[in-house]
């Protein structure tokens, strides 16, 4: 699914990713953990194609195709979805209209007709029920005046609507209370299949109780420095990151 080799990226003059390697196969869930400033959000943004970041080396392959030169919308059409840590407010565009544009632009890129309104509404109803989203919420301006939890739930709702191949959840658990966390995690789990993959970026083990990872990686100073199974997350929760830093320096 996703294969990143020796990825290096910087913003302005600051090197952030310093040779990152990761491979994610279809059907897998990978968790990325690490201390603040390690480069976790940068990794997510670079995979999604944010232009402020300059890729200075390495490659990003999605299903065997190099996507590192594609525009963000082209990567989205190829199946990349990023659930933002801080979803952007877009006043004047309702959730429904936004998702309609989003779906139809993706279909257009694949040479498909626009989705018929009936099908779209049916899908919206289905997915909003899955994420326990009130219908009234769908006619509000996108993210405008949403609480932190509503924003995150809306991100996963869009993911459910778009059905991406690769979903990257950037600190989707932050700002969620325990009930919202369960709803969001449940949504993600229902969307999981053998044909798609999920990368979960998080600070806390808590989310991983609900979305159980196949692999856990520690990102530190722009590189993956340790990989393991879900037990690694528990160990990190208990001991913090200092022992890893020490291991590296030893």
């Amino acid at each position: 699914m996703l294969k990143i080799e020796n990825l290096q990226a910087r913003i302005e003059d600051k090197e952030i990713l310093k040779g990152l390697n990761i491979e994610v196969k279809a059907g897998e869930v990978h968790a990325i953990m690490g201390p603040n400033g390690a480069g976790k959000s940068t990794m997510a943004s670079v995979i999604a194609g944010k232009e402020e970041y300059e890729v200075t080396g390495g490659s990003i392959e999605l299903n065997g195709e190099d996507i590192s030169e594609l525009a963000p919308d082209e990567r989205a059409h190829a199946g990349v979805f990023l659930s933002f840590q801080y979803p952007v407010e877009i006043p004047g565009v309702t959730v429904t209209n936004f998702i309609k544009s989003s779906i139809n632009e993706s279909r257009k890129a694949q040479g498909l007709e626009e989705m018929p309104a009936k099908d779209l509404l049916k899908k919206i109803r289905e997915k909003s029920e899955l994420l326990e989203i009130d219908r009234k919420f769908l006619s509000r301006s996108l993210n405008e005046g949403f609480s932190g939890g509503e924003k995150k739930r809306n991100e996963i709702f869009q993911m459910a609507m778009l059905e991406p191949k690769l979903a990257i959840l950037d600190e989707t658990d932050s700002g969620l209370d325990i009930d919202a966390l369960r709803i969001v995690a449940n949504g993600v789990n229902k969307l999981k299949s053998k044909d798609n993959a999920v990368i979960v970026i998080t600070h806390y083990q808590r989310l991983l109780d609900y979305i159980v990872p196949d692999f856990v990686h520690v990102l530190y100073d722009g590189k993956i420095v340790k990989s393991g199974t879900k037990e690694l997350a528990l160990e990190l929760e208990e001991k913090g990151y200092d022992w890893i830093k020490e291991e590296l320096n030893a």
Partner: protein, 451 residues
């Protein structure tokens, strides 16, 4: 001779031409020298003669330079020979909605394309109102009672006022359909100066919707110097829509003056998408309690277009409201000006004046000057104003692209959403659809839904 003096000489030419034309004009319109209209015109003319055209030294004209417009050798008297068929101008009408139509071609009324009425209300022409005895009382009460304030271009219009729309709605009348005022210039003259003069009287508890448009059908330079006076009596309601989507050789100086009595509601919407230079002077005078005034504007410009929205609200009475919302999107080398003056007189306690001007600069060489001017002499009022000038939000663009919306469409969607606030009060559905279509065309995109 300095460049500035040469400029002045050229302007002098137009001014001289206007001066020497005035006598001929009065002969042409068959004026009664004993009438009050003659006195009003003569006085306005001498005001114009003294003041001349405004220059950049004039504080109110600091950012709008008329000198390039005044160089043209305008024909002041149209021969009015041009004949147009409905087919030629059909696209400029709001067709699907039944309307009263007042059509003027090169400043002359065209009865064939129009559809007037005297049945229970007057939707007719100024040439009749200014000369026929049955309108004398209304003319003496209202004509040039608002436009006279120290404005040489309004004076110029008044001096040459002869034709335009005359709308008089008696009390308790809800006009069943909108009134369209369409001014066409045809290019049968080389370059033409047109000065339409409209008078709208909304009786007590009456309601009217008016759409006004100036449209050039030629590549010749056209300058329109229009004046509209609107009087809204007690509990009257007026919605006035200005469609400004003219060709790039057409310029417009518009003076619209609104006087409101107690409990009236007046809204003026200004949609500026085309034209070379557009100056909108929009003035509201609130004379009684509980008046509400709305001013909404959208400017979407490119090329070297220039639009200047100059507004004034004078709060003279307590417990009134004024709401102003102007949005601008500026591409290429276009320029915009917003000047919003709000005067709150001492007696105008408990008023609420709200003013908002938001601009997005798209073009590297585009610019905007925005200036709120608040003069508050009352002590218990709520006045707020806000002005923003910025670029499109990059993080919002990335967010939308991440969801599969290409950059161009994402930009257009953001701009659409941005201007939408100022469009939501349009009460004629077909007009709203039209404006949406024009905006989509201006932004070169197919959005696929109405926001």
């Amino acid at each position: 001779m300095s460049a500035e003096n040469i400029e002045l000489m050229k302007q002098m030419d137009l001014k001289e031409k206007l001066i020497s034309s005035f006598l001929a004009f009065e002969n042409q319109v068959d004026v009664d020298v004993d009438s009050k209209v003659h006195d009003v015109r003569s006085k306005a003319f001498s005001n114009f003669e003294q003041q001349g055209f405004p220059t950049k030294r004039d504080e109110e004209w600091k950012y709008t330079n008329l000198s390039s417009l005044l160089k043209s050798n305008y024909n002041i008297f149209s021969k009015g020979e041009a004949s147009l068929t409905y087919k030629d101008v059909k696209q400029y009408f709001i067709n699907e909605t039944d309307c009263y139509n007042l059509v003027f071609i090169d400043g002359k009324f065209n009865a064939f394309l129009s559809n007037t009425t005297h049945d229970g209300l007057d939707v007719c022409v100024m040439s009749a109102a200014l000369t026929k005895p049955k309108y004398e009382e209304a003319i003496n009460t209202y004509f040039n009672k608002l436009a006279k304030e120290n404005n040489s271009l309004s004076d110029l219009n008044t001096a040459f006022s002869a034709e335009g729309a005359y709308v008089n709605i008696p009390k308790n009348t809800v006009v069943p359909k909108p009134i369209q005022i369409l001014n066409f210039s045809t290019g049968s003259e080389q370059e033409i100066l047109i000065q339409p003069r409209n008078l709208v009287i909304v009786g007590e508890n009456a309601h009217v919707q008016i759409i006004e448009r100036h449209q050039s059908l030629t590549g010749n330079n056209t300058l329109t110097n229009a004046v509209t006076e609107i009087f809204v009596n007690k509990r009257g309601i007026v919605d006035f829509y200005k469609m400004q989507n003219d060709v790039e050789t057409a310029s417009l100086i518009d003076g619209t003056f609104v006087s409101q009595q107690k409990d009236s509601v007046a809204s003026v919407h200004t949609f500026s998408f085309g034209g070379k230079l557009t100056r909108n002077n929009l003035e509201f005078y609130q004379n009684g309690e509980h008046c509400v005034s709305h001013m909404n504007g959208i400017s979407i410009l490119d090329g070297k277009q220039h639009v200047d929205n100059h507004t004034l609200v004078q709060h003279k009475a307590p417990n009134c409201e004024s709401h102003e919302m102007y949005k601008g999107i500026y591409d290429e080398k276009s320029t915009g000006v917003f000047n919003g003056k709000v005067i709150v007189e001492q007696a105008a306690q408990k008023i609420n004046a709200y003013q908002q001007n938001n601009n997005i600069i798209v073009g590297d060489k585009a610019s905007v000057n925005s200036k709120p001017q608040l003069e508050i002499f009352a002590d218990d009022v709520k006045c707020s104003h806000g002005c923003t000038i910025g670029q499109l939000d990059e993080s919002a663009l990335f967010y939308m692209q991440q969801r599969g919306i290409p950059k161009k469409e994402a930009k257009a969607l953001l701009m659409y959403a941005f201007s939408n606030d100022a469009l939501k009060d349009v009460k004629i559905p077909e007009l709203k659809t039209r404006i949406n279509a024009i905006i989509a065309e201006k932004l070169d995109v197919n959005i696929g839904f109405d926001l």
